[in-house]
Symmetry: C2
Subunit: 320 residues, 2 copies
Protein backbone atom coordinates (compact mmCIF):
# COMPACT_ATOMS: atom_id res chain seq x y z
CA UNK A 1 0.00 0.00 0.00
CA UNK A 2 1.26 3.44 -0.97
CA UNK A 3 0.38 6.46 1.14
CA UNK A 4 0.47 9.64 -0.94
CA UNK A 5 -0.74 12.74 0.86
CA UNK A 6 0.37 15.28 -1.79
CA UNK A 7 -3.10 16.59 -2.30
CA UNK A 8 -3.51 17.18 1.44
CA UNK A 9 -7.11 16.06 1.45
CA UNK A 10 -9.46 16.56 4.40
CA UNK A 11 -12.21 14.06 5.21
CA UNK A 12 -14.96 16.18 3.70
CA UNK A 13 -13.22 15.93 0.33
CA UNK A 14 -13.73 12.18 0.43
CA UNK A 15 -17.45 12.28 0.66
CA UNK A 16 -17.91 12.22 -3.09
CA UNK A 17 -17.74 8.82 -4.64
CA UNK A 18 -16.64 10.26 -7.96
CA UNK A 19 -13.71 12.62 -8.40
CA UNK A 20 -14.65 15.91 -10.01
CA UNK A 21 -13.33 15.87 -13.55
CA UNK A 22 -11.34 18.80 -14.89
CA UNK A 23 -12.83 19.94 -18.20
CA UNK A 24 -11.48 21.95 -21.08
CA UNK A 25 -11.25 25.40 -19.54
CA UNK A 26 -8.62 24.58 -16.94
CA UNK A 27 -7.17 21.59 -18.76
CA UNK A 28 -3.41 21.32 -18.12
CA UNK A 29 -3.05 18.96 -21.07
CA UNK A 30 -4.27 21.36 -23.78
CA UNK A 31 -1.74 23.16 -26.04
CA UNK A 32 -1.05 26.65 -24.72
CA UNK A 33 -1.38 25.40 -21.12
CA UNK A 34 2.00 23.65 -21.06
CA UNK A 35 3.08 25.71 -18.04
CA UNK A 36 0.34 24.01 -15.96
CA UNK A 37 2.31 20.74 -15.98
CA UNK A 38 5.86 20.14 -14.74
CA UNK A 39 8.40 20.54 -17.60
CA UNK A 40 8.05 17.84 -20.23
CA UNK A 41 10.21 14.72 -20.21
CA UNK A 42 9.81 14.13 -23.92
CA UNK A 43 7.45 14.98 -26.75
CA UNK A 44 6.90 14.00 -30.36
CA UNK A 45 6.81 17.37 -32.09
CA UNK A 46 6.20 18.68 -35.53
CA UNK A 47 9.40 20.08 -37.07
CA UNK A 48 11.21 22.46 -34.79
CA UNK A 49 8.63 23.50 -32.16
CA UNK A 50 10.17 24.38 -28.77
CA UNK A 51 9.82 22.20 -25.63
CA UNK A 52 6.92 23.09 -23.32
CA UNK A 53 5.15 24.98 -26.08
CA UNK A 54 2.44 23.95 -28.55
CA UNK A 55 3.32 21.93 -31.64
CA UNK A 56 3.38 18.41 -30.16
CA UNK A 57 1.45 15.24 -31.01
CA UNK A 58 2.31 13.22 -27.91
CA UNK A 59 3.72 14.79 -24.76
CA UNK A 60 5.09 13.08 -21.64
CA UNK A 61 5.25 15.00 -18.35
CA UNK A 62 5.81 14.07 -14.70
CA UNK A 63 2.56 13.62 -12.78
CA UNK A 64 1.95 16.83 -10.84
CA UNK A 65 0.63 14.82 -7.87
CA UNK A 66 2.89 11.77 -8.05
CA UNK A 67 2.18 8.65 -6.04
CA UNK A 68 5.95 8.14 -5.91
CA UNK A 69 9.03 10.38 -6.12
CA UNK A 70 12.11 9.92 -8.24
CA UNK A 71 14.50 11.42 -5.69
CA UNK A 72 15.99 9.73 -2.65
CA UNK A 73 16.73 6.22 -1.52
CA UNK A 74 14.31 3.58 -0.40
CA UNK A 75 14.93 4.06 3.33
CA UNK A 76 13.66 0.66 4.35
CA UNK A 77 12.90 0.56 8.10
CA UNK A 78 10.96 -1.41 10.68
CA UNK A 79 8.29 0.28 12.79
CA UNK A 80 7.68 -2.18 15.61
CA UNK A 81 6.03 -5.08 13.87
CA UNK A 82 5.59 -3.23 10.59
CA UNK A 83 7.79 -2.40 7.58
CA UNK A 84 8.05 0.96 5.90
CA UNK A 85 9.97 2.29 2.90
CA UNK A 86 10.00 5.54 0.99
CA UNK A 87 7.86 5.84 -2.11
CA UNK A 88 10.69 5.93 -4.62
CA UNK A 89 9.60 5.75 -8.23
CA UNK A 90 8.63 7.69 -11.31
CA UNK A 91 5.06 8.66 -12.15
CA UNK A 92 4.58 10.09 -15.64
CA UNK A 93 1.61 11.09 -17.77
CA UNK A 94 1.47 10.40 -21.50
CA UNK A 95 -0.78 13.06 -23.07
CA UNK A 96 -2.02 11.18 -26.11
CA UNK A 97 -3.22 14.03 -28.28
CA UNK A 98 -3.26 17.83 -28.21
CA UNK A 99 -7.00 17.94 -28.96
CA UNK A 100 -9.13 17.96 -25.81
CA UNK A 101 -12.10 16.32 -27.51
CA UNK A 102 -10.23 13.38 -29.10
CA UNK A 103 -10.86 9.89 -27.76
CA UNK A 104 -8.10 7.30 -28.00
CA UNK A 105 -10.41 4.90 -29.86
CA UNK A 106 -11.09 7.46 -32.58
CA UNK A 107 -7.51 8.58 -33.26
CA UNK A 108 -6.02 7.59 -36.62
CA UNK A 109 -4.17 4.30 -36.24
CA UNK A 110 -0.87 5.96 -37.09
CA UNK A 111 -1.21 8.29 -34.10
CA UNK A 112 -2.11 5.39 -31.80
CA UNK A 113 1.12 3.79 -32.98
CA UNK A 114 3.02 6.92 -31.91
CA UNK A 115 1.52 6.60 -28.42
CA UNK A 116 2.77 2.99 -28.24
CA UNK A 117 6.21 4.25 -29.26
CA UNK A 118 6.05 6.84 -26.48
CA UNK A 119 5.36 4.06 -23.93
CA UNK A 120 8.30 2.12 -25.34
CA UNK A 121 10.70 5.08 -25.39
CA UNK A 122 9.95 5.96 -21.77
CA UNK A 123 10.35 2.33 -20.70
CA UNK A 124 13.72 2.05 -22.42
CA UNK A 125 14.87 5.26 -20.73
CA UNK A 126 13.61 4.37 -17.23
CA UNK A 127 15.04 0.86 -17.46
CA UNK A 128 18.51 2.41 -17.13
CA UNK A 129 17.72 3.46 -13.54
CA UNK A 130 18.85 0.39 -11.61
CA UNK A 131 16.53 1.14 -8.70
CA UNK A 132 13.49 0.28 -10.80
CA UNK A 133 12.26 -3.28 -11.04
CA UNK A 134 8.92 -2.84 -12.76
CA UNK A 135 7.31 -0.37 -15.14
CA UNK A 136 3.54 -0.26 -15.28
CA UNK A 137 1.73 1.47 -18.15
CA UNK A 138 -2.00 1.91 -17.78
CA UNK A 139 -4.91 4.05 -18.81
CA UNK A 140 -7.96 5.17 -16.84
CA UNK A 141 -10.68 6.49 -19.12
CA UNK A 142 -13.73 8.14 -17.58
CA UNK A 143 -14.46 9.15 -14.01
CA UNK A 144 -15.91 5.74 -13.11
CA UNK A 145 -12.56 4.17 -14.06
CA UNK A 146 -10.59 6.63 -11.93
CA UNK A 147 -9.68 9.36 -14.43
CA UNK A 148 -9.64 12.84 -12.88
CA UNK A 149 -8.81 14.65 -16.11
CA UNK A 150 -11.02 14.47 -19.16
CA UNK A 151 -8.27 15.05 -21.75
CA UNK A 152 -7.24 11.58 -22.92
CA UNK A 153 -3.98 10.34 -21.38
CA UNK A 154 -2.18 7.25 -20.11
CA UNK A 155 0.11 6.87 -17.12
CA UNK A 156 3.42 5.20 -16.43
CA UNK A 157 4.74 4.24 -13.00
CA UNK A 158 8.23 2.87 -12.43
CA UNK A 159 8.47 0.91 -9.17
CA UNK A 160 11.38 -0.21 -7.00
CA UNK A 161 9.66 -3.53 -6.28
CA UNK A 162 7.82 -6.05 -8.41
CA UNK A 163 4.10 -5.71 -7.67
CA UNK A 164 2.44 -8.62 -5.90
CA UNK A 165 -0.08 -9.25 -8.66
CA UNK A 166 2.72 -9.36 -11.26
CA UNK A 167 4.67 -11.80 -9.11
CA UNK A 168 1.64 -14.06 -8.79
CA UNK A 169 1.10 -14.03 -12.55
CA UNK A 170 4.75 -14.79 -13.23
CA UNK A 171 4.82 -17.62 -10.71
CA UNK A 172 1.86 -19.19 -12.50
CA UNK A 173 3.67 -18.90 -15.83
CA UNK A 174 6.86 -20.36 -14.38
CA UNK A 175 4.99 -23.34 -12.91
CA UNK A 176 3.38 -24.09 -16.27
CA UNK A 177 6.71 -23.76 -18.04
CA UNK A 178 8.49 -26.02 -15.58
CA UNK A 179 5.91 -28.70 -16.13
CA UNK A 180 5.50 -28.44 -19.89
CA UNK A 181 8.39 -26.35 -21.26
CA UNK A 182 5.84 -24.16 -22.99
CA UNK A 183 4.67 -20.60 -22.31
CA UNK A 184 1.12 -20.66 -20.99
CA UNK A 185 0.13 -17.60 -23.02
CA UNK A 186 1.41 -19.28 -26.19
CA UNK A 187 -0.82 -22.22 -25.25
CA UNK A 188 -3.74 -19.83 -24.75
CA UNK A 189 -3.15 -18.19 -28.13
CA UNK A 190 -3.08 -21.61 -29.83
CA UNK A 191 -6.29 -22.75 -28.14
CA UNK A 192 -8.14 -19.49 -28.84
CA UNK A 193 -7.07 -19.39 -32.50
CA UNK A 194 -8.29 -22.97 -32.81
CA UNK A 195 -11.58 -22.55 -30.85
CA UNK A 196 -12.44 -19.11 -32.33
CA UNK A 197 -15.30 -18.87 -29.79
CA UNK A 198 -13.71 -16.12 -27.72
CA UNK A 199 -11.91 -14.22 -30.49
CA UNK A 200 -12.86 -10.54 -30.82
CA UNK A 201 -10.28 -9.48 -33.44
CA UNK A 202 -7.18 -10.92 -35.06
CA UNK A 203 -4.36 -9.93 -37.39
CA UNK A 204 -1.08 -11.64 -38.40
CA UNK A 205 0.75 -10.55 -35.22
CA UNK A 206 -1.96 -10.14 -32.55
CA UNK A 207 -5.17 -11.60 -31.23
CA UNK A 208 -7.83 -9.98 -29.04
CA UNK A 209 -9.88 -12.45 -26.99
CA UNK A 210 -12.28 -12.50 -24.09
CA UNK A 211 -10.35 -14.68 -21.62
CA UNK A 212 -11.76 -18.08 -20.60
CA UNK A 213 -12.15 -16.96 -16.97
CA UNK A 214 -12.83 -13.22 -17.18
CA UNK A 215 -13.11 -11.30 -13.93
CA UNK A 216 -15.27 -8.63 -15.53
CA UNK A 217 -17.99 -8.62 -18.19
CA UNK A 218 -16.50 -7.87 -21.64
CA UNK A 219 -12.93 -8.03 -20.34
CA UNK A 220 -10.53 -8.39 -23.28
CA UNK A 221 -6.89 -9.44 -23.64
CA UNK A 222 -4.70 -8.45 -26.58
CA UNK A 223 -1.77 -10.85 -26.99
CA UNK A 224 1.10 -11.04 -29.47
CA UNK A 225 0.81 -14.34 -31.31
CA UNK A 226 4.54 -14.84 -31.30
CA UNK A 227 6.20 -15.36 -27.93
CA UNK A 228 7.60 -12.14 -26.45
CA UNK A 229 8.29 -11.28 -22.81
CA UNK A 230 9.19 -7.61 -23.05
CA UNK A 231 6.85 -5.05 -24.61
CA UNK A 232 9.68 -2.57 -25.08
CA UNK A 233 11.63 -5.02 -27.26
CA UNK A 234 8.83 -5.28 -29.84
CA UNK A 235 9.75 -4.93 -33.50
CA UNK A 236 8.56 -1.91 -35.47
CA UNK A 237 6.28 -4.13 -37.55
CA UNK A 238 4.65 -5.33 -34.34
CA UNK A 239 3.76 -1.81 -33.21
CA UNK A 240 2.31 -1.33 -36.70
CA UNK A 241 0.05 -4.32 -36.03
CA UNK A 242 -0.72 -3.57 -32.38
CA UNK A 243 -2.09 -0.08 -33.06
CA UNK A 244 -4.89 -1.27 -35.39
CA UNK A 245 -6.02 -4.16 -33.16
CA UNK A 246 -6.04 -1.94 -30.06
CA UNK A 247 -8.03 0.64 -32.00
CA UNK A 248 -10.47 -1.99 -33.28
CA UNK A 249 -10.91 -3.52 -29.80
CA UNK A 250 -11.67 -0.12 -28.27
CA UNK A 251 -14.12 0.72 -31.05
CA UNK A 252 -15.90 -2.65 -30.72
CA UNK A 253 -16.16 -2.06 -26.96
CA UNK A 254 -17.48 1.47 -27.48
CA UNK A 255 -20.06 0.33 -30.01
CA UNK A 256 -21.25 -2.66 -27.96
CA UNK A 257 -21.30 -0.93 -24.59
CA UNK A 258 -21.96 2.68 -25.61
CA UNK A 259 -18.47 4.08 -24.82
CA UNK A 260 -18.06 2.97 -21.21
CA UNK A 261 -15.41 4.12 -18.77
CA UNK A 262 -12.52 1.66 -18.97
CA UNK A 263 -9.02 0.73 -17.81
CA UNK A 264 -6.29 -0.86 -19.82
CA UNK A 265 -3.13 -2.26 -18.33
CA UNK A 266 0.05 -3.33 -20.06
CA UNK A 267 1.33 -6.56 -18.49
CA UNK A 268 5.01 -6.87 -19.35
CA UNK A 269 8.00 -8.61 -17.85
CA UNK A 270 9.76 -7.13 -14.81
CA UNK A 271 13.07 -5.40 -15.55
CA UNK A 272 16.29 -7.38 -15.13
CA UNK A 273 14.41 -10.66 -14.62
CA UNK A 274 15.04 -13.77 -16.65
CA UNK A 275 11.41 -14.40 -17.58
CA UNK A 276 12.05 -14.49 -21.33
CA UNK A 277 11.02 -18.09 -21.86
CA UNK A 278 7.86 -18.26 -19.81
CA UNK A 279 6.33 -14.78 -19.59
CA UNK A 280 4.42 -13.22 -22.48
CA UNK A 281 3.43 -9.58 -22.50
CA UNK A 282 -0.16 -8.55 -23.21
CA UNK A 283 -2.71 -5.81 -22.69
CA UNK A 284 -5.76 -6.26 -20.48
CA UNK A 285 -8.73 -4.08 -21.34
CA UNK A 286 -11.48 -3.77 -18.72
CA UNK A 287 -14.71 -1.89 -19.35
CA UNK A 288 -15.90 -0.44 -16.04
CA UNK A 289 -19.42 -1.85 -15.86
CA UNK A 290 -19.76 -3.44 -12.45
CA UNK A 291 -18.92 -2.48 -8.88
CA UNK A 292 -16.31 -4.45 -7.02
CA UNK A 293 -18.05 -5.20 -3.73
CA UNK A 294 -17.82 -7.20 -0.51
CA UNK A 295 -17.71 -10.59 -2.19
CA UNK A 296 -14.75 -9.67 -4.39
CA UNK A 297 -12.84 -7.99 -1.55
CA UNK A 298 -13.47 -10.97 0.68
CA UNK A 299 -12.47 -13.69 -1.72
CA UNK A 300 -10.38 -12.35 -4.61
CA UNK A 301 -13.00 -14.08 -6.79
CA UNK A 302 -15.19 -12.18 -9.23
CA UNK A 303 -18.80 -12.78 -10.15
CA UNK A 304 -19.33 -12.15 -13.85
CA UNK A 305 -22.84 -12.10 -15.31
CA UNK A 306 -21.74 -12.64 -18.95
CA UNK A 307 -19.96 -15.65 -20.44
CA UNK A 308 -16.83 -14.80 -22.43
CA UNK A 309 -18.30 -16.55 -25.48
CA UNK A 310 -21.37 -14.29 -25.41
CA UNK A 311 -19.25 -11.21 -24.84
CA UNK A 312 -16.94 -12.08 -27.76
CA UNK A 313 -19.92 -12.65 -30.03
CA UNK A 314 -21.44 -9.27 -29.19
CA UNK A 315 -18.08 -7.56 -29.69
CA UNK A 316 -17.38 -9.35 -33.00
CA UNK A 317 -20.79 -8.49 -34.35
CA UNK A 318 -20.60 -4.79 -33.49
CA UNK A 319 -20.81 -2.72 -36.67
CA UNK A 320 -17.81 -0.40 -36.92
Amino acid sequence: MIISTERGARPNEFRFERPSVIGREFCPFCPGHEELTPPEIMAYRQGGSAPNAPGWDVRVVPNKYPALHVEGDMGREGVGLYDRMNGVGAHEVIIETPDHKDMLADLPVKRLEDILWAYRDRMVDLKRDVRFRYILVFKNHGAAAGATLEHTHSQLIALPIIPTSVLTEIEGCRAHYQQKERCIYCDIVRQEVSDQERVVAENPEFICVTPFAPRFPFEMWILPKRHAAYFEESQKTQFEMLAPILSESLRRMNRTLRSPAYNFILHTSPLHEKTGEYYHWHIELIPKLTQVAGFEWGTGFYINPVTPEEAAKFLREAEL
Copy 2:
Protein backbone atom coordinates in the same frame (compact mmCIF):
# COMPACT_ATOMS: atom_id res chain seq x y z
CA MET B 1 -13.99 -16.27 -11.50
CA ILE B 2 -17.66 -17.16 -11.21
CA ILE B 3 -19.95 -16.83 -14.21
CA SER B 4 -23.53 -16.31 -13.13
CA THR B 5 -25.96 -15.55 -15.95
CA GLU B 6 -29.18 -15.87 -13.93
CA ARG B 7 -30.30 -12.38 -14.71
CA GLY B 8 -29.87 -12.99 -18.46
CA ALA B 9 -28.45 -9.54 -19.08
CA ARG B 10 -27.95 -8.05 -22.55
CA PRO B 11 -25.06 -5.70 -23.31
CA ASN B 12 -27.23 -2.58 -23.17
CA GLU B 13 -28.01 -3.35 -19.54
CA PHE B 14 -24.34 -2.96 -18.72
CA ARG B 15 -24.05 0.58 -19.89
CA PHE B 16 -24.95 2.00 -16.51
CA GLU B 17 -22.08 2.17 -14.12
CA ARG B 18 -24.42 2.05 -11.16
CA PRO B 19 -27.05 -0.60 -10.67
CA SER B 20 -30.53 0.79 -10.32
CA VAL B 21 -31.53 0.51 -6.69
CA ILE B 22 -34.87 -0.97 -5.72
CA GLY B 23 -36.69 1.37 -3.35
CA ARG B 24 -39.48 0.89 -0.86
CA GLU B 25 -42.44 0.32 -3.15
CA PHE B 26 -41.22 -2.94 -4.67
CA CYS B 27 -38.93 -3.90 -1.80
CA PRO B 28 -38.84 -7.69 -1.36
CA PHE B 29 -37.36 -7.27 2.12
CA CYS B 30 -40.25 -5.31 3.67
CA PRO B 31 -42.80 -7.10 5.90
CA GLY B 32 -45.88 -8.07 3.93
CA HIS B 33 -43.73 -8.76 0.85
CA GLU B 34 -42.34 -12.06 2.13
CA GLU B 35 -43.63 -13.88 -0.94
CA LEU B 36 -41.22 -11.84 -3.11
CA THR B 37 -38.26 -13.79 -1.70
CA PRO B 38 -37.67 -17.55 -1.79
CA PRO B 39 -39.02 -19.22 1.41
CA GLU B 40 -37.06 -18.21 4.50
CA ILE B 41 -34.25 -20.34 5.88
CA MET B 42 -34.59 -18.94 9.38
CA ALA B 43 -35.94 -15.90 11.16
CA TYR B 44 -35.88 -14.40 14.63
CA ARG B 45 -39.54 -13.80 15.28
CA GLN B 46 -41.65 -12.26 17.97
CA GLY B 47 -43.66 -14.90 19.82
CA GLY B 48 -45.58 -17.19 17.54
CA SER B 49 -45.65 -15.40 14.16
CA ALA B 50 -45.74 -17.80 11.17
CA PRO B 51 -42.82 -18.37 8.78
CA ASN B 52 -42.81 -16.18 5.63
CA ALA B 53 -45.19 -13.70 7.24
CA PRO B 54 -44.59 -10.44 9.11
CA GLY B 55 -43.51 -10.47 12.77
CA TRP B 56 -39.74 -11.02 12.35
CA ASP B 57 -36.75 -8.96 13.51
CA VAL B 58 -34.07 -10.67 11.40
CA ARG B 59 -34.91 -12.87 8.41
CA VAL B 60 -32.58 -15.06 6.33
CA VAL B 61 -33.59 -16.07 2.79
CA PRO B 62 -31.83 -17.62 -0.20
CA ASN B 63 -30.59 -15.02 -2.68
CA LYS B 64 -33.13 -14.89 -5.50
CA TYR B 65 -30.31 -14.46 -8.05
CA PRO B 66 -27.63 -16.65 -6.47
CA ALA B 67 -24.06 -16.58 -7.68
CA LEU B 68 -23.88 -20.24 -6.69
CA HIS B 69 -26.35 -23.11 -6.32
CA VAL B 70 -26.77 -25.52 -3.42
CA GLU B 71 -27.75 -28.47 -5.59
CA GLY B 72 -25.48 -30.76 -7.54
CA ASP B 73 -21.89 -31.84 -7.48
CA MET B 74 -18.83 -29.86 -8.42
CA GLY B 75 -18.39 -31.46 -11.85
CA ARG B 76 -14.73 -30.59 -12.20
CA GLU B 77 -13.59 -30.88 -15.84
CA GLY B 78 -10.86 -29.73 -18.19
CA VAL B 79 -11.71 -27.71 -21.30
CA GLY B 80 -8.54 -27.94 -23.37
CA LEU B 81 -6.07 -25.92 -21.40
CA TYR B 82 -8.66 -24.60 -18.98
CA ASP B 83 -10.43 -25.88 -15.87
CA ARG B 84 -14.11 -25.61 -15.16
CA MET B 85 -16.34 -26.62 -12.26
CA ASN B 86 -19.97 -26.06 -11.34
CA GLY B 87 -20.83 -23.16 -9.10
CA VAL B 88 -21.84 -25.20 -6.08
CA GLY B 89 -22.48 -23.18 -2.95
CA ALA B 90 -25.06 -21.36 -0.88
CA HIS B 91 -25.89 -17.69 -1.28
CA GLU B 92 -28.11 -16.25 1.45
CA VAL B 93 -29.36 -12.80 2.39
CA ILE B 94 -29.64 -11.65 5.99
CA ILE B 95 -32.39 -9.02 6.16
CA GLU B 96 -31.24 -7.03 9.15
CA THR B 97 -34.46 -5.24 10.11
CA PRO B 98 -38.09 -5.15 8.98
CA ASP B 99 -38.06 -1.35 8.69
CA HIS B 100 -37.06 -0.15 5.21
CA LYS B 101 -35.65 3.13 6.49
CA ASP B 102 -33.39 1.73 9.23
CA MET B 103 -29.62 1.91 8.77
CA LEU B 104 -27.45 -0.75 10.41
CA ALA B 105 -25.40 1.95 12.18
CA ASP B 106 -28.50 3.37 13.83
CA LEU B 107 -30.08 0.16 15.08
CA PRO B 108 -30.15 -0.37 18.86
CA VAL B 109 -27.04 -2.32 19.87
CA LYS B 110 -29.17 -5.23 21.05
CA ARG B 111 -30.60 -5.65 17.56
CA LEU B 112 -27.14 -5.49 15.99
CA GLU B 113 -26.19 -8.30 18.33
CA ASP B 114 -29.11 -10.37 17.00
CA ILE B 115 -27.77 -9.89 13.46
CA LEU B 116 -24.37 -11.20 14.58
CA TRP B 117 -26.15 -14.22 16.07
CA ALA B 118 -27.90 -14.78 12.75
CA TYR B 119 -24.52 -14.85 10.97
CA ARG B 120 -23.28 -17.32 13.54
CA ASP B 121 -26.35 -19.57 13.42
CA ARG B 122 -26.19 -19.80 9.63
CA MET B 123 -22.46 -20.56 9.72
CA VAL B 124 -22.95 -23.34 12.26
CA ASP B 125 -25.71 -24.85 10.12
CA LEU B 126 -23.84 -24.61 6.80
CA LYS B 127 -20.67 -26.00 8.33
CA ARG B 128 -22.40 -29.37 8.49
CA ASP B 129 -22.40 -29.58 4.68
CA VAL B 130 -19.04 -31.24 4.03
CA ARG B 131 -18.79 -29.79 0.51
CA PHE B 132 -18.24 -26.31 1.91
CA ARG B 133 -14.76 -25.13 2.81
CA TYR B 134 -15.32 -21.43 3.42
CA ILE B 135 -18.17 -19.19 4.53
CA LEU B 136 -17.98 -15.53 3.66
CA VAL B 137 -20.21 -12.98 5.38
CA PHE B 138 -20.19 -9.47 3.96
CA LYS B 139 -22.27 -6.36 3.60
CA ASN B 140 -22.56 -3.95 0.67
CA HIS B 141 -24.17 -0.68 1.73
CA GLY B 142 -25.08 1.88 -0.93
CA ALA B 143 -25.08 1.61 -4.72
CA ALA B 144 -21.43 2.71 -5.00
CA ALA B 145 -20.47 -0.28 -2.83
CA GLY B 146 -22.46 -2.72 -4.96
CA ALA B 147 -25.81 -2.85 -3.15
CA THR B 148 -28.76 -3.27 -5.52
CA LEU B 149 -31.41 -3.17 -2.81
CA GLU B 150 -31.83 -0.21 -0.50
CA HIS B 151 -33.30 -2.15 2.45
CA THR B 152 -30.34 -2.87 4.74
CA HIS B 153 -29.07 -6.44 4.51
CA SER B 154 -25.92 -8.58 4.63
CA GLN B 155 -25.00 -11.59 2.54
CA LEU B 156 -23.50 -14.99 3.21
CA ILE B 157 -21.83 -17.21 0.64
CA ALA B 158 -20.67 -20.77 1.38
CA LEU B 159 -17.98 -21.91 -1.06
CA PRO B 160 -16.62 -25.34 -2.02
CA ILE B 161 -13.07 -23.92 -2.23
CA ILE B 162 -11.01 -21.62 -0.02
CA PRO B 163 -10.82 -18.22 -1.76
CA THR B 164 -7.40 -17.17 -3.04
CA SER B 165 -7.29 -14.00 -0.96
CA VAL B 166 -8.11 -15.99 2.20
CA LEU B 167 -5.38 -18.50 1.37
CA THR B 168 -2.83 -15.72 0.92
CA GLU B 169 -3.79 -14.17 4.25
CA ILE B 170 -3.59 -17.51 6.03
CA GLU B 171 -0.21 -18.32 4.50
CA GLY B 172 1.13 -15.03 5.83
CA CYS B 173 -0.19 -15.85 9.29
CA ARG B 174 1.29 -19.33 9.17
CA ALA B 175 4.72 -18.00 8.14
CA HIS B 176 4.70 -15.53 11.04
CA TYR B 177 3.63 -18.26 13.45
CA GLN B 178 6.27 -20.70 12.24
CA GLN B 179 8.96 -18.10 12.84
CA LYS B 180 7.77 -16.67 16.14
CA GLU B 181 5.14 -19.04 17.58
CA ARG B 182 2.82 -16.06 17.92
CA CYS B 183 -0.32 -15.08 16.02
CA ILE B 184 0.40 -12.00 13.88
CA TYR B 185 -2.97 -10.46 14.68
CA CYS B 186 -2.29 -10.87 18.41
CA ASP B 187 0.98 -9.01 17.77
CA ILE B 188 -0.93 -6.30 15.89
CA VAL B 189 -3.43 -5.93 18.73
CA ARG B 190 -0.60 -5.58 21.28
CA GLN B 191 1.24 -2.98 19.18
CA GLU B 192 -1.92 -0.95 18.46
CA VAL B 193 -3.04 -0.98 22.10
CA SER B 194 0.44 0.22 23.05
CA ASP B 195 0.83 2.86 20.26
CA GLN B 196 -2.78 4.15 20.48
CA GLU B 197 -2.10 6.21 17.32
CA ARG B 198 -4.35 4.17 15.07
CA VAL B 199 -7.06 3.23 17.60
CA VAL B 200 -10.59 4.29 16.65
CA ALA B 201 -12.52 2.55 19.45
CA GLU B 202 -11.84 -0.01 22.14
CA ASN B 203 -13.64 -2.08 24.76
CA PRO B 204 -12.57 -4.97 27.00
CA GLU B 205 -12.95 -7.59 24.24
CA PHE B 206 -12.42 -5.72 20.93
CA ILE B 207 -10.38 -3.00 19.30
CA CYS B 208 -11.14 -1.01 16.14
CA VAL B 209 -8.04 0.36 14.39
CA THR B 210 -7.03 1.87 11.09
CA PRO B 211 -4.47 -0.70 9.88
CA PHE B 212 -0.82 0.32 9.48
CA ALA B 213 -0.91 -0.27 5.71
CA PRO B 214 -4.52 0.50 4.73
CA ARG B 215 -5.50 -0.07 1.10
CA PHE B 216 -8.28 2.47 1.31
CA PRO B 217 -8.74 5.82 3.08
CA PHE B 218 -10.47 5.35 6.45
CA GLU B 219 -10.31 1.55 6.21
CA MET B 220 -10.93 0.04 9.68
CA TRP B 221 -10.35 -3.38 11.23
CA ILE B 222 -12.26 -4.68 14.24
CA LEU B 223 -10.32 -7.42 16.03
CA PRO B 224 -11.05 -9.51 19.12
CA LYS B 225 -8.30 -8.77 21.65
CA ARG B 226 -8.16 -12.39 22.74
CA HIS B 227 -6.96 -14.91 20.19
CA ALA B 228 -9.79 -16.61 18.28
CA ALA B 229 -9.72 -18.23 14.85
CA TYR B 230 -13.41 -18.98 14.31
CA PHE B 231 -16.07 -16.26 14.43
CA GLU B 232 -18.82 -18.81 14.94
CA GLU B 233 -17.20 -20.13 18.12
CA SER B 234 -17.36 -16.76 19.86
CA GLN B 235 -18.72 -16.63 23.41
CA LYS B 236 -22.01 -14.92 24.13
CA THR B 237 -20.20 -12.16 26.04
CA GLN B 238 -18.08 -11.50 22.98
CA PHE B 239 -21.10 -10.89 20.75
CA GLU B 240 -22.34 -8.54 23.49
CA MET B 241 -19.07 -6.59 23.11
CA LEU B 242 -18.80 -6.83 19.32
CA ALA B 243 -22.20 -5.27 18.64
CA PRO B 244 -21.42 -1.96 20.41
CA ILE B 245 -17.95 -1.53 18.83
CA LEU B 246 -19.30 -2.32 15.35
CA SER B 247 -22.09 0.17 15.93
CA GLU B 248 -19.66 2.82 17.20
CA SER B 249 -17.25 2.29 14.29
CA LEU B 250 -20.06 2.64 11.75
CA ARG B 251 -21.37 5.77 13.47
CA ARG B 252 -17.88 7.34 13.61
CA MET B 253 -17.45 6.58 9.91
CA ASN B 254 -20.86 8.05 9.08
CA ARG B 255 -20.19 11.19 11.08
CA THR B 256 -16.68 11.73 9.68
CA LEU B 257 -17.46 10.89 6.06
CA ARG B 258 -21.13 11.86 5.88
CA SER B 259 -22.60 8.33 5.65
CA PRO B 260 -20.64 6.91 2.72
CA ALA B 261 -21.35 3.74 0.82
CA TYR B 262 -19.31 0.97 2.42
CA ASN B 263 -18.45 -2.73 2.51
CA PHE B 264 -17.67 -4.84 5.49
CA ILE B 265 -16.23 -8.31 5.31
CA LEU B 266 -15.93 -10.92 8.02
CA HIS B 267 -12.55 -12.63 7.78
CA THR B 268 -12.79 -15.94 9.59
CA SER B 269 -11.00 -19.26 9.45
CA PRO B 270 -11.81 -21.76 6.69
CA LEU B 271 -13.95 -24.71 7.75
CA HIS B 272 -12.24 -27.97 8.74
CA GLU B 273 -8.76 -26.36 8.67
CA LYS B 274 -6.34 -26.45 11.57
CA THR B 275 -5.67 -22.72 11.67
CA GLY B 276 -6.61 -22.33 15.33
CA GLU B 277 -3.19 -21.26 16.54
CA TYR B 278 -2.20 -18.76 13.87
CA TYR B 279 -5.36 -17.29 12.33
CA HIS B 280 -7.44 -14.64 14.09
CA TRP B 281 -10.86 -13.63 12.85
CA HIS B 282 -11.69 -9.95 12.32
CA ILE B 283 -13.98 -7.60 10.44
CA GLU B 284 -12.69 -5.27 7.72
CA LEU B 285 -14.75 -2.14 7.16
CA ILE B 286 -14.11 -0.21 3.93
CA PRO B 287 -15.80 3.11 3.17
CA LYS B 288 -16.24 3.37 -0.60
CA LEU B 289 -14.52 6.70 -1.30
CA THR B 290 -12.06 6.07 -4.12
CA GLN B 291 -12.16 4.30 -7.47
CA VAL B 292 -10.00 1.25 -7.98
CA ALA B 293 -8.28 2.01 -11.28
CA GLY B 294 -5.54 0.88 -13.65
CA PHE B 295 -2.73 1.17 -11.13
CA GLU B 296 -4.45 -1.05 -8.58
CA TRP B 297 -5.53 -3.64 -11.17
CA GLY B 298 -2.02 -3.70 -12.60
CA THR B 299 -0.11 -4.06 -9.37
CA GLY B 300 -2.32 -5.24 -6.52
CA PHE B 301 -0.98 -2.16 -4.70
CA TYR B 302 -3.26 0.62 -3.53
CA ILE B 303 -2.59 4.34 -3.44
CA ASN B 304 -4.09 5.87 -0.32
CA PRO B 305 -4.19 9.64 0.11
CA VAL B 306 -4.71 9.56 3.91
CA THR B 307 -2.36 8.21 6.57
CA PRO B 308 -3.98 5.74 8.99
CA GLU B 309 -2.94 7.97 11.92
CA GLU B 310 -4.82 10.95 10.45
CA ALA B 311 -7.83 8.81 9.62
CA ALA B 312 -7.94 7.36 13.17
CA LYS B 313 -7.71 10.84 14.66
CA PHE B 314 -10.62 12.13 12.55
CA LEU B 315 -12.69 9.07 13.44
CA ARG B 316 -11.87 9.26 17.18
CA GLU B 317 -12.74 12.94 17.31
CA ALA B 318 -16.10 12.58 15.55
CA GLU B 319 -18.89 13.68 17.88
CA LEU B 320 -21.45 10.93 18.27
